[in-house]
Amino acid sequence: MSKRQLAMVMDLNKCIGCQTCTVACKTQWTNRNGREYMYWNNVETKPGPGYPAKWENMGGGFDTSGNLKEGTIPGLSGDYGIPWDYNHDEIMRGAELAPRSTPQVGPNWNEDEGAGEFPNSYFFYLPRICNHCSNPGCLAACPREAIFKRSQDGIVLVDQSRCEGLRFCIAGCPYKKIYFNPKLFKSEKCIMCFPRIEKGLPPACAEQCVGRIRFVGYLDDEEGQVYKLVYKYKVALPLHPEYGTEPNVFYVPPLAGPKKFDKTGKPIEGSDRIPLEYLRSLFGTGVDSALETLKSEMAKKKSGQPSELVDLLIAFKHSEMFRIKAQDKKGTEKNV
C-alpha cells in the first residue's frame, strides 16, 4: 500500500471517442521498440469486445475472499492484432491505398458497433488506461516481485531490471493493461506519465483530452474534484469492481441516454436506451444511485439552483481539472 494514491476520474458523458488521448499516449511512449502493438491508453466502444478482444473473459484479479485468480495471456495475432501499415510509397506511383498485410483484428476494431437493433441501438465510449490498482493483480502475480507501487502516489510500475518476461502479470491483470514487449522481453505498462507527474503536470492523455473528461488528483485531497466525485457525490465508479483489484481510475457512468422509440417512431416514456443492467455489469451496483444523483443535480442546475457537482463536471477551466504539484526528490509534493 502506498502513502498516497493518485487517481483519475473520467466522465463518460463527455467522451466523444476522438482517440486524442490514445494518440497522445502512443506518440509519447509506445510507437517504438516492440511497443507498436501496445495501447497503454485505448478508447473502446461498449458494448463490444474491446482491446485486446474479449479482455473481460480472460480471467485474473481476485476472488471474493481476496485470493488471486488464474488468467490467460492474449495473443498478438488473435487478440491484440498485429499492427499493419499502408503502401504509402506505392500510392505516390499511382497505386490505391491498401494495407501491406491483411488486418485480422486490432484496437478499435469494433468502433461504434455497440448493441441493440435500429432505431434502439446504443453504444458509448470507454477510455481505458492502467487502473493503478490498490491491490494490483499484476503485482500479486509476479513470481519475481518485480512490480511495485510507488509510495508517494501509488503509481504501479515494473522494475525492468527484475522483470524476466515471464508474463504471469498479464494473466493476473483482469483489465489486460500490462503488455509483453517481445522485442525487449519485458512487461511494460501505463506509467501514469510519472515523469510528468513529478513535474506537476497531468498525464499526456488527460492534458490532451479534447472533451475535458479526465480529472487527476489525490484521493485524500478533500478539496479536489477526484475526492468529491468519488467519495462526496459517489458518481465516479471503478470499472468492474468485482475483479477485486481496487482500481484507482473511476468513471462517471453514461446517463442511460435517450428514450427508446416504439414501432411508430415515438419515444417511449420512462425507457432507457442503455440497459441499466449492462451498466451495472460494468460499474457495479453503485450505478443506480450515481445516475440518480447526476439526474437530480442536473435538474437542479437546469432550474437555476446552484450545483457544485454539475459545475465540477462541466470543468469550466481545463487546468483546474488537475490537482498535482511538482514533487521533490523524495517524492513529496512541493509547496508552490
Partner: protein, 396 residues
C-alpha cells in the same frame, strides 16, 4: 597410472579433504545400491579439455544416466493455460552425461520434445524451450541440501538457465535463495548451447564451466545437482516447469566424505522406509489440515506447500528434515500479495487491503530467524516417520 594433470588436480584437494578421505578409507559405510544406480552420474575425468559440442566423440566415454523430471506443483502459478498441463503429465526423461577435466566440468543433457519452441521477437504467447542446471552454493559434509525449487534462505543455489531463442541459446547464470529471488550473475563464464535434432526429435544441450568460478567451487567428489526443463508447448516458464530432485555428480578418483554420502543416501538403505499405507493414514491425520496431496484438498489452497508429487522432487533427507524440524528448512512464499485480507475495511483516501497473514508459511522471531508455521513433528516415533517417508516418496 595417474595422469600428471590429474595428480595435480588431486593434490590440490589432498590438504582440504585429507580428513574426509581418511574417514572414507577406514570407514565401513557403503552407499546403498539403489542410490548409486539411480541418483548418481559417474563423472569421467579426462586428460584433455572437456567437449564443447554435442557431437564430440569424447561423450561416448561418459556414462549416460536417465533422470525423471516432474512438474512443479508445490506452488501453483496463475496462468490458466500453463496449469492445464499440470494434470496427468507423464514424467520427462532427461539423459545426463558428464565429463570433467582438471579445470572444467561439462554436461550433455538430452530430452525428447515433439515440437521445438524458440522465443521469438514478435509474439506474446510463445515461450522458448529451456533447460537449467542447478548447484548448491555450498555443499559437502556438515551441509544439508538447499530447497530444490531455487534454494532457501540458509542455502542459496547457483542456477544456469538456457533458453532457445531465434538468435541461439540465451544463458543466464543466477543465484537464488527461494522462489522469485533469482538474481543474475553477470560475471559467469559458463557456456550453454542448445540444439534440436529434427530426426530423433531430441533437444541436446551442452553446458560447461570451470570447476571453480568466483567463490563457487564444484571440486568435491559428490556434487549435488538438479535439473529443470521448460516446454514451450505447455506455456512453461518460471515456476511452471519439470524438475528433478537433487541428483549427484560423482567425480571419479575423488573419495566422498562418508558422512556426507550417508546423509545424502538416506532413505535408500533397506529399513529406511516403512509401510506406505500406514504412512498415508498418518498423513491424512497430520498433514491434510494444511497441505494438499493425492486428491486430498480439504485445506485452503496455497495455505501450505502442495505436497502432490513432493517425493518426486524432494529427497528423503529433505522430507525427513521438513517433518522433524520445519523451521530449519523454511521455504519462502511465492509473492505474498497473492492473498489479501478483507477483514480490515479500506480507508477513504488510502485504499487497498493488507496481505492475508494466514497464508504466510512462516513468521519471524525477534532475531529475524524464520519460524515455520508448521509445528515440528519431532515426537514421531522412528516407525511413524519411516511410514510417512514411504508414503511421501510416492504421493501423487
Amino acid at each position: 597410472m595417474f595422469d600428471r594433470l590429474l595428480l595435480r588436480f588431486f593434490s590440490i584437494f589432498m590438504v582440504g579433504q585429507a580428513l574426509l578421505i581418511c574417514d572414507s578409507v577406514f570407514g565401513a559405510y557403503k552407499a546403498p545400491e539403489p542410490f548409486l544406480k539411480n541418483e548418481v552420474v559417474q563423472v569421467k575425468v579426462i586428460t584433455s579439455a572437456v567437449p564443447r559440442t554435442v557431437s564430440d566423440k569424447k561423450w561416448s566415454k561418459a556414462q549416460k544416466q536417465i533422470f525423471k523430471l516432474h512438474t512443479q506443483q508445490t506452488v501453483r502459478l496463475n496462468d490458466r493455460d500453463a496449469n492445464e498441463y499440470l494434470k496427468n503429465q507423464k514424467p520427462l526423461e532427461l539423459h545426463v552425461r558428464a565429463l570433467a577435466s582438471a579445470q572444467q566440468l561439462a554436461l550433455l543433457l538430452e530430452w525428447k520434445d515433439e515440437n521445438p519452441n524458440l522465443a521469438t521477437g514478435n509474439e506474446t504467447r510463445l515461450f522458448g524451450d529451456s533447460v537449467a542446471v542447478q548447484f548448491p552454493y555450498v555443499f559437502g559434509e556438515g551441509h544439508r541440501l538447499p530447497y530444490v525449487g531455487m534454494g532457501d534462505d540458509k542455502y542459496p543455489v547457483v542456477a544456469y538457465l538456457g533458453r532457445a531463442t531465434q538468435k541461439g541459446t540465451l544463458l543466464r547464470t543466477t543465484a537464488a535463495v527461494g522462489f522469485g529471488s533469482s538474481t543474475r550473475q553477470k560475471k559467469s563464464q559458463a557456456k550453454m548451447n542448445m540444439s534440436y535434432d529434427k530426426k530423433d526429435k531430441m533437444w541436446r544441450a551442452i553446458w560447461y564451466r570451470s570447476l571453480k568460478e568466483g567463490g563457487h567451487s564444484l571440486k568435491q567428489s559428490l556434487i549435488p545437482v538438479a535439473f529443470a526443463v521448460w516446454d514451450g508447448d505447455r506455456y512453461e516458464r518460471g515456476g511452471n516447469k519439470s524438475l528433478s530432485s537433487w541428483k549427484f555428480l560423482k567425480l571419479e578418483n575423488l573419495k566422498a566424505s562418508e558422512k556426507y554420502l550417508e546423509n545424502m543416501a538416506f532413505g535408500y538403505a533397506p529399513g529406511d522406509l516403512g509401510d506406505k499405507s500406514k504412512g498415508k493414514t498418518l498423513a491424512l491425520q497430520s498433514c491434510a489440515a494444511c497441505h494438499h496431496f493425492e486428491g486430498v484438498t480439504s485445506a485452503l489452497s496455497d495455505f501450505a506447500p502442495d505436497l502432490s508429487q513432493i517425493g518426486k522432487i524432494a529427497t528423503f533427507s529433505y522430507l525427513r528434515d521438513s517433518i522433524l524440524s520445519p523451521s530449519e528448512v523454511v521455504v519462502r512464499n511465492l509473492n505474498q500479495n497473492r492473498h489479501y485480507s478483507k477483514v480490515e475495511s479500506s480507508e477513504v483516501g488510502k485504499r487497498g487491503y493488507p496481505n492475508n497473514p494466514s497464508y504466510l508459511w512462516y513468521s519471524k522471531d525477534q532475531g529475524g530467524k524464520l519460524i515455520s508455521k508448521m509445528p515440528p513433528f519431532g515426537y514421531l516415533s522412528k516407525e511413524d516417520l519411516s511410514n510417512l517417508l514411504a508414503f511421501m516418496k510416492e504421493v501423487e
